[in-house]
Symmetry: C2
Subunit: 421 residues, 2 copies
Amino acid sequence: MPYFISGVPADYKELIARTPEEFRKLNDVEIFTRHRVIDIDPERQRLRVVDLEGNREFTTEYTVLLVSTGAKAFVPPVDGVTLNGCFTLRKLSDSIAIKTYLRERKPRRAVIVGAGPIGMEMCESFRTIGLEVSVVEMAPQVMPMIDEDMAGEVQSRLELEGVNCMLGQGLEGIEGDSSGAARRVVTTGGNVECDIVLLGIGVRPSVDTAAAAGVQLGTRGAIKVDRMLRTNVPNIYAAGDCATTTHKLTGEETWIPLGSTSRKQGRLAADNMFGATLEFPGVQGTSVVKCFDLTVGRTGLNESGARDAGFEPVSITMEAETLHEYMPVRGNMALKLVADKATGRLLGAQVVGEMTALADKRLDILAVAIGAGLNANDVKYLDLAYAPPYSTAIDVPIIAGNLMTGKLYGKECSCGPHGLE
Amino acid sequence: MPYFISGVPADYKELIARTPEEFRKLNDVEIFTRHRVIDIDPERQRLRVVDLEGNREFTTEYTVLLVSTGAKAFVPPVDGVTLNGCFTLRKLSDSIAIKTYLRERKPRRAVIVGAGPIGMEMCESFRTIGLEVSVVEMAPQVMPMIDEDMAGEVQSRLELEGVNCMLGQGLEGIEGDSSGAARRVVTTGGNVECDIVLLGIGVRPSVDTAAAAGVQLGTRGAIKVDRMLRTNVPNIYAAGDCATTTHKLTGEETWIPLGSTSRKQGRLAADNMFGATLEFPGVQGTSVVKCFDLTVGRTGLNESGARDAGFEPVSITMEAETLHEYMPVRGNMALKLVADKATGRLLGAQVVGEMTALADKRLDILAVAIGAGLNANDVKYLDLAYAPPYSTAIDVPIIAGNLMTGKLYGKECSCGPHGLE
């Protein structure tokens, strides 16, 4: 949606993966849009539904029910969040509303509250269409999903692109003008004038109807499910952003709402609802965000997460060009790798790189290694595809393995004139 | 070197990873270029060495010896291979000789014998600088490293680029003109006129001096080593293209000479020669070649290789766009995945894709999964980094996992209007 707001695609319809008509025609599935389930009766396996257009209520029965109510944008309890020009960005309708506001009111100054993924994407989006942009973030760094030592480069890039970063500042409220339009964001560190405000400070699971029916909640208030995605209530499953899952590295219940996870869980829940007994293995929180020309991503645990989970983390940080010096188009990336001191097991990775460095794919390579339980020594010997148009003779993850084993086991790393290959 | 021949880089010196002077200065290592070891005496741990410039012989002692003599281009025993204008491409000096011949003789018509990696890269190189190109290949397909069903697209692309593919034809000889220059390649299927010939039909390990000293040879005549890269002779190690290794999937001794493997083995051998006890885990034959705008790669076993190794292979083939339809720059790729019917374990993958599809990195993701012993079900749930600039919500390897589990366990795959996501 941030890309749609700045023009790609031009038509919001391209963002709709499948329309109700396509569902009906291709999958023989009936979709009720603009309907809300207002009550689940688990005893009689009945739903009470409101047709939001006709205001008609009716009852329907289920044999098996999937709750896939997703998550909703968090709106902080401060003054001014309902002013005109103050938006969240979660639903397609949000992005259409923002686009309409941009077209009709022609705001010049944007304030983005929250320097997480949505905030970062919206920095690029708003700058692309020529707005002045300030970002207000409570943490002392941008992109709190990565460690502070990795986030510095992202902040520098934001500033290079003309974004005003207001870090370590909490939102106190938004003030409007006489027409009821947002004009000033008030923070613990001062005020900033604006014509449009985007609140990008996270989401909360949408669970009210399920919870009222006795469906048990778990961590972060998300619906508690087992590995088969069953809730505590017979014949009720939950999947996607409204549900908990297991963290592969900590073994703990976690809630990391991501579209990639939802897609996998949706398939699995459907199979199980029709008789299969598949188990979802959990997640490791792999995610990536494009911020101007930078790719920022992470997978697994960062240092503090590793410590919280009872590991003793060891980390290495490196920079590398991903192609040989003589290749015309190549890019630079930074990688941080975290491993467990006692076992050498890989716990997490973070990347910040230029788009041409394909840091997201190097992250994916490490994500598979981390998910498979590989250790630092295994990564030294990954058999990856090499030819000069694609990588250096040993690619970034392998170099990281060399550095990590050097740090873990006290060996020096031999460094040539071409860096850490 | 194929890229150097067509102009990138312009200077061959950029292809030298480290010069003797850099070795001396940075690593305190003395390099003797233009010297040949003509005898190894393992009893007295002595080498007899010839200085090829001064024709001086001398003797030197070793505490521990690494044989890293690499491989040499195979030249078939047919007439005409020593004619002017008939080349192999293995050493930097080969590429300089080809470049010199191109500049001085201005050949117009090239024949490449062998449609493997070097042959494919040289097709692009010779076409880039404007030569007419024919490829003679004994197999009925180009790129015998991938299965025939995947190779068809590569052949189509070659033909689109104006390359004349002469498949299923064996080399019988090369005929020259009165000046001793190659002018005609004679094959089992007919003759083809030419001004330059490139023999790209494989390499053989360089082992003569080591073998004469009693070093045992293994598969394909390469030096037999254990996982610590020790030969049968005390204090003699071997690494790289001259040595055998273990295939991770078959557990058998194998010989797959690749620069990426050599780099890893070189480090390991050096560590072990100085007291470490590291073990090289083996290879799975991951490789990639750029052929015009196509990326062609493989890892692990193909169907016939899997059958030879005692598996019952099941395979799926798919095509996918790697980004959502609304993203302006995206690419198409084909993927073939091979798994073991009994266990679901992944055995191999092959890709053919446009450069923008980053098929090599999707191959790497699967290479890590295959090397880690994952099965088809595990791949369905890989936690990969998703955002619209980088992939679809579930990326190609995951889609392949969905298709493979469908095929293995008899479930239908739900396909929407956007393909196999």
